[in-house]
Symmetry: C2
Subunit: 223 residues, 2 copies
Amino acid sequence: MDFNPGKYYNILESLVSIFTIDQGQVKVLLLRKKSEPYRGYWILPGGIVSNDETIEMNIIDSIEVKLGLKDVYLEQCHIFSNLDRDPDDRIIAISYIGLIDNVSALFKREDRDDIQTAWFKIGDIPKMAYDHARILKKNIEFLRRKIVNSNVLKSLFPSDFTLPELQKAYEQILNVTMDRRNFRKKFITLGLIEDTGDKNVGGNGRPAKLYSFKEDIKERNLF
Amino acid sequence: MDFNPGKYYNILESLVSIFTIDQGQVKVLLLRKKSEPYRGYWILPGGIVSNDETIEMNIIDSIEVKLGLKDVYLEQCHIFSNLDRDPDDRIIAISYIGLIDNVSALFKREDRDDIQTAWFKIGDIPKMAYDHARILKKNIEFLRRKIVNSNVLKSLFPSDFTLPELQKAYEQILNVTMDRRNFRKKFITLGLIEDTGDKNVGGNGRPAKLYSFKEDIKERNLF
DNA sequence: ACCCCTTTGTGTTAAATGTACACAGTTAAT
DNA sequence: ATTAACTGTGTACATTTAACACAAAGGGGT
């Protein structure tokens, strides 16, 4: 057996699918590659993990420095260690989902010269570089499972929200349609949310009541 | 910013909680440390990941070479990248659960001089080295979620099994007791298993019918 | 002021699922 | 034959889910 200490050195990258609600649509934040290979294709944000930081630290830094985003709720999703994900280097990818509310998402910084970003509807993803399409798909699948087993969506709706807004988010992520009355009944009897007493004035039609998530909720199956 | 390529070299270890059914008990396979630090404490099996293999390959190799076990069903659980997990080195741990049926588990090799192994009931875990107790706990928690969202337990029961055996496995992992009639009704109406027509002779009491899992079952919530 | 359009809020019924519960059947051992 | 140990089975009740239609509140145009 050859002794080659270098063989135990691995390069890790973090990749995060940051979701938010934008005008009633569930969207994910992608970056556009400006150099070869895959110039013009889109990638997930992330960074190379150094050995003096945790993966979460790395992601938080990457997000804040490159994108200006703060207060992203993170959850670990999956590791991709197959040898052929990048033809040039052997890099292990650690993927996370990130959830950010629509107010905080507004503080995303303007694109720099070297970075072009855009929010994409999760049903309408552009051409992606490397294996990022596969990773994003897995992340969306993870989010899908997550929202039926927990109330993580409260990270997308920290401020007051309406039940139709919440329902639309569920419908997009789960790719189904739901009955408005049953959805409402479900969430109210679950006790996850509370009526704030206010109404969402200004839109079309009858104003919707505003709700907010309660704080101290433990996880449970929702659907 | 200092340029230090070495800072992007990370050491990864795989750690796997291998579960099986042994005499009606759900057990996990642990190794005993024979050298300092933590001599005499128990650890999860695993290995250092080299940069020419996937994590799954590393685990499969580790399990086979050190333990002689084959055909372990693996599923990724969690990554632990906090900086203080090992006071000496910065090692990132990637944890998996492994499920092996009671027949294959019999082929575990005898302990070598440098390796002592033992199966422990999941409710009765010994003193563990490093942060392995925490990791094992997370893995058991993961298994718990998994068995209510899928029929992974079929990896523990590939050959014919009885419904009371299956029920006991669920009860131990979920740490609950269940009604025999309702459990039976549930599993039979779910259509996950089928009666083989044989009976489990030789034990105490009335012989139980033998069942086996059907093959082509897609995932769904069980409980 | 009135009408129209759009969107939200609400209750009931039937079906399916989950839960609680007690006794008879089969084998081995004495 | 009796006992001990364990497995198999059905029914009634409670809970949850699923389907479904109309009234209420606001905005805009006339």
